[in-house]
Symmetry: C5
């Protein structure tokens, strides 16, 4: 009987494909990651309190031509495999080669970094596309004076809800339109962190289901699921934990591109991130508890089986001895010629049997 | 035989219902939590050394109209599902939208935060309403120059004892009436932290009971209770631990709304909180010890059973062999025709039996 | 067979009786603790290099009247249940109500706290009165300019040795008489910390005895003792650990009442405290090791038993089969009519038996 | 049956051969390490944006004569057993005797140290030469104003790729040629850290293979491999962990020899190092998980065997009792003379057998 | 069968004999430790670059008379039980009574402490005198302007190698002679720390030997050795760990008696100490691994035995049933009168036996 196999190890951030780059100078731009989409596209949303304009193109120069310094310019790039496109963007915005390299390496750990005239920020979005396994996508942001660049691995709909809100013209409460690129930056990060909660909710449900399974019917499949969950929590933790430090730097007002009245919002996201991290730690505790219960449960069942079987054997062993006694061929065994010898023997055996059962019962062995 | 089920996972702070909010802008006020009460009401207690006045209403404007800047105004709001009411309060006191959002999210972690003209503080009260399970309620405070707002999920009687003391007119020792809103704030937090002690006391009793149970009669129900307790301690820790940091900020005098002569009182609550946290850690150690004892105890019992049963089998196996010998049908077996062959065999078997019992006894196997 | 019971949980500091206080204002003085003595008494020792005077009374005013500002006044209060007495002392020395409350709560964690005109210090003394269990007593100190108050739960003889030294008039080396109240304070704390060493020594001896017991004769009583020791180390740690921080504050010269040339003495006590804490940690490691050995030892013994019994069963099972063969009633079984059939069978069985024993021996199963 | 042996302990850094040095004064230069190569050679690459010159010699003076202060001089020394050669180098560059001692002790932990007129840096390169075991080589760097010394244990090809890039004359993107010795220093460290990734990738693959093996066919060889991997991760961690601190010092700009515009590059290597350390920690978690699975898997298999065998025994024991009953020699056993007694007995036994099998099936014991 | 006993607990630093001191004033000098030598002697080596003089005496005054302020004076005291001698030394050099007390308490933890006109330093030397057990000796240093006092428990040869180097007159490289007392102090500490390496080397060898033993022939003696090693590592860690902090203070240049150009040497010893600590931690990991292997190994062997024995029993149980069948005494059992009934039965039983063996083989149970 074979144990079911765990799903494969998630590809570990920065480990994958890294050999391809070894030896190349740091300025060389190479896409390190899985090409998850064929398309690559640049979208520009330029807005202020009164106007909003949108362009979409695969030609960088067109997009750059439309940038409007009097508005907030949100340039969103989908698909990182198009290295030339990234390079053109980088040139226009004077991005450091190392920054571009980090954008293209989709297995970077979350971090925030201050460059002279822009702020760089990397984090992971989590999806629960199909089934239980968690998918990771890296999103990089470059925040400048009146622009925000966002780099996504593939076309995503994670920001679509927010885009729709931006487009609403006559909305008195539409704070986003009145504020600068730093607030836009906050809203996008907030959306990503909100996404963590729904992932955690599903993980929580899986823990509850596993707990039930462990009590009702702990099979090898349960063990597989527990191990799988444990592993996912290891990777979840690895993806979220560094975000704490990255946001902490932002919160402390180290970066000049975040205006002072936007800071409380970042504090809020920071609180959420700590909350997420603490919940991941709590879940690890709970999964460890479930694993312990599984072990105890399986060993209890085994003991149960062995005990009952052993009791059966123990009852019959003395009885078998007795019938053996009267199977002996001695010439003189007085009991053999007694009239009720046979039935008497049965009676004695019955008494022994009942006696032992009662003894076992009293000892709580049954 | 099926293991009893653990009670369900407590709803995890901030995870629950969070999906409903995803995508909405941060200023949107939505009640995130379980509606635990239908009623929602605002109470005002305005007092100074000489006078005390109380109003109760569901109309915010009435309450606001009665605020008296020459007194300490304690505004207590019961029931957070009435979002409009919260919003009106927020408008009057110029509360930041993010603060209101935190008030309405009943799954926030304890924290203290400084706003320009008020101090925000969130913590959890613990109840042991029925049976052993612990109930959590979130209470938020907003401390301003001469007012204190307290937001409760439901009508609570946790502060009733203190209200009665406040009302006593002719009480020379009634320090509370002579002091400002910061002292009021301290007294309410102190009441909450005092409540932790009684919860811990009950948890301590449960540990003692479980220890006895593990020695006397370790059943599956015991295992269930141990795991339940372990889990509750995980959540208890999560609720109390961040309070340490929140109070530490207050104690360090970072907040201008806490007068200098009130600081020693906060140091005192801070000491109590550390004491509570240390006790929770100690309890975790103890529960781990109880779990270890359970495992050892169960495995000892199993071994006990198996050993006795195996000893019985072992004694009868050689005897059965002997009676088998004289059940053989060889034509020439001299013993069979001996006069006392049968009784002699019994004698030999008795000797073997006694010999083995003595051997087992000496080896301490019985 | 029932496992022996662990002794009850030690009452946990600050948890006990705390409910009685809930809701009362912080200034209310209530004795929280077990009344361990009926008597309550105040002793005054006032001394300088040349003179020493002693008074003893149950009347606080008498004692206060005898205070001599030109000497070091050591006021020792035995028995905290006499709240009035404590209150009078508090009034005379202008002690903060929170300080008095801490004095009366005998389940406080060790701490040092700076008040405007005195220094407050709480710690635990440990006794090994009878048998192995450790008894805790709380001692509080209030150090002022020329006085030291010490509050003890019961009449103690822990400071008697030091009192006798103080009384020696003509002692050139009697540094204590030449120094101020801060040195007196140091000497008393030093006496308490010295007491920890003798407790640790006894704990060390118990570990050695347990180790021997685990090797010689690991019974359930051993398990009980190991668990008991483990638990005591948990509480020992809890009592001593916070002392580190309390003394660290003193050592850093944060308190004005400790003169600069007394500081090296406090550094010395601080070193001893760290030493005690490290030893407690080492003991925890050792006890964990003893527990592991117990488990291994018990499981080894069980395996030993099972193996021997199984070997016996295994040897007789084939033999029983053989005698069964010749008990069959087939009409034609040639061996039955052989002359030496019976003895031959015995011979064969003997050979099988010896063969198996040799095989088991070679395999090291016996 | 004997467990396979783990490969020998890797030689522990600094422990090996250290006895040979004990007692000698700190200035004494002795090669501490395994002589891994016979050859020892000095290579000089001197370059600026326009020119590049290369010399190779075993004569230090020749090399020193060719140093060109207007260029970046990279002096690479292969083979540390030639102590005289190292000493001559040291004299020319005014290296501190302790620095030279560290260079010659190939079991040093990674560190960076500031000397008045140069910066010293030690780290480990990892190879996966043959099979699974990891080989460590120590590389030391001395960075001066316009030179970089690199000391390798043996001739290596780890820097060959980079050397080739340096030689390319007409390369517009060849940043390395335009920059100073600090950039050269960065590039070499970057190359070493890149090498860690490929080692980690292989370790990751081995974990996956082991996971499969644990599910498919957990043998003793698997256990051996798990333990081996665990051990290698212990040493891997020990080799990489201190690099974090060493690089951190460089990143913080503590060293005057690193120009300000080269710092971002070191931040990048620092990020990679943290990433490597986190991955090593994750791998340790995963290997622990694999070990747990191995234990569970082996114990499950054992239980499987025992259960089936016990079930077989349990079914036959009652049957054997029944046939024993009718083997008794009582004179009056009515069943014996029934016509279908024999076949009836078979029928009863068959029914019992089927009944028990069904019972076991329903109980899921089979 | 009795488990072998662990060797006794090493005497725990500071715990031993401490009761003897309880109650005495801190200035009282009492030797706390085991008297390991009868002799007590004072040696003086006074040297500068040109001269070296040596005196040896049991009379302190003679030695003091020979002190030469123009030279470096190294006063080495062997044997601490001679309290008077220590006191005379202390008086001459104006040592603080607490310092002298620390010198005499041979169970102090390593520390460095700054006194007004000298620096105090305590650490442990380790010996591997006989067999595997490690012996600890405490050495205290007092470093003054032009003198160094070293206090040893017994006559040691640990510094003999260094003494011989000092005596070499015409040695150009003899840096020691040219430098001050701080360098001498460094050299002695360096010698002690070098000694740790050789202890660690031996511990490493013992781990390797234990690993082999666990694979080849894991007996109870192995278990004993593993536990012994574990315990020794606990005490080793305790002895070396605080040295880190003590040296760290020296390295940071906090002490005025260490000249600036001697600091790099202390940094070097500090590095070595960290290296030793890390190696101890690594060894603890390895020993834990060996213990795990022992457990797995022992349980594997036990399973092996049980499985084979159970298989034997399982094969014979059905056979015994069959022979039982034909031992029944029914009047009509057709098979009994068949000509080849007996041999046929043998045949059937042989087939069953072979079938089961093949089944077990295929299932890999054998």
């Amino acid at each position: 009987m074979q144990l079911p196999r765990l799903s494969k190890l998630p590809k570990l951030a920065g480990i994958r494909n890294s050999q391809a780059k070894a030896g190349l100078p740091p300025g060389t731009l190479i896409f390190v990651g899985d090409k998850v989409s064929d398309k690559s596209q640049v979208d520009l949303i330029a807005y202020n309190e009164h106007e909003i304009e949108e362009y979409s193109s695969q030609n960088t120069e067109q997009i750059i031509g439309r940038l409007d310094k009097t508005k907030v310019n949100w340039v969103n790039i989908d698909g990182l495999h198009n290295v030339d496109l990234i390079e053109q963007i980088g040139e226009h915005f004077h991005l450091h080669p190392l920054l571009l390299e980090d954008v293209l390496n989709t297995e970077h750990r979350p971090k925030s970094e201050d460059y002279a005239d822009h702020l760089f920020f990397v984090l992971k979005t989590l999806y629960n596309l199909t089934g239980d396994s968690i998918t990771y996508e890296q999103i990089s942001f470059v925040l400048g004076k009146n622009y925000l660049l966002s780099f996504q691995e593939k076309e995503g709909d994670i920001f679509d809800g927010f885009r729709n809100r931006l487009r609403q013209i006559n909305n008195n409460k539409n704070r986003a339109r009145k504020k600068g690129s730093d607030y836009l930056f906050y809203r996008l990060i907030d959306t990503v962190v909100d996404g963590y909660y729904s992932i955690l909710e599903k993980v929580g449900e899986r823990i509850e289901i596993l707990e039930d399974e462990v009590y009702d019917n702990p099979s090898r499949a349960t063990l597989k699921k527990i191990q799988q969950l444990k592993k996912e929590l290891v990777f979840l933790r690895k993806s979220v934990y560094p975000l704490r430090e990255a946001l902490s730097k932002v919160t402390k007002g180290e970066y000049s591109f975040i205006k002072k009245d936007t800071l409380p919002f970042f504090s809020d996201v920071y609180d959420h991130t700590i909350h997420v991290i603490e919940t991941v730690e709590t879940y690890r505790d709970l999964v460890t508890g479930v694993m312990d219960m599984y072990m105890t449960s399986v060993s209890n069942r085994m003991n149960e089986v062995m005990k009952v079987l052993t009791v059966i054997a123990t009852i019959f062993i003395p009885l078998t001895f007795i019938v053996g006694v009267y199977g002996m061929n001695f010439e003189y065994i007085p009991e053999l010629s007694w009239k009720y010898g046979y039935f008497g023997t049965w009676g004695v055996m019955l008494l022994i049997c009942i006696g032992m059962l009662m003894y076992f019962k009293r000892k709580k062995w049954l």
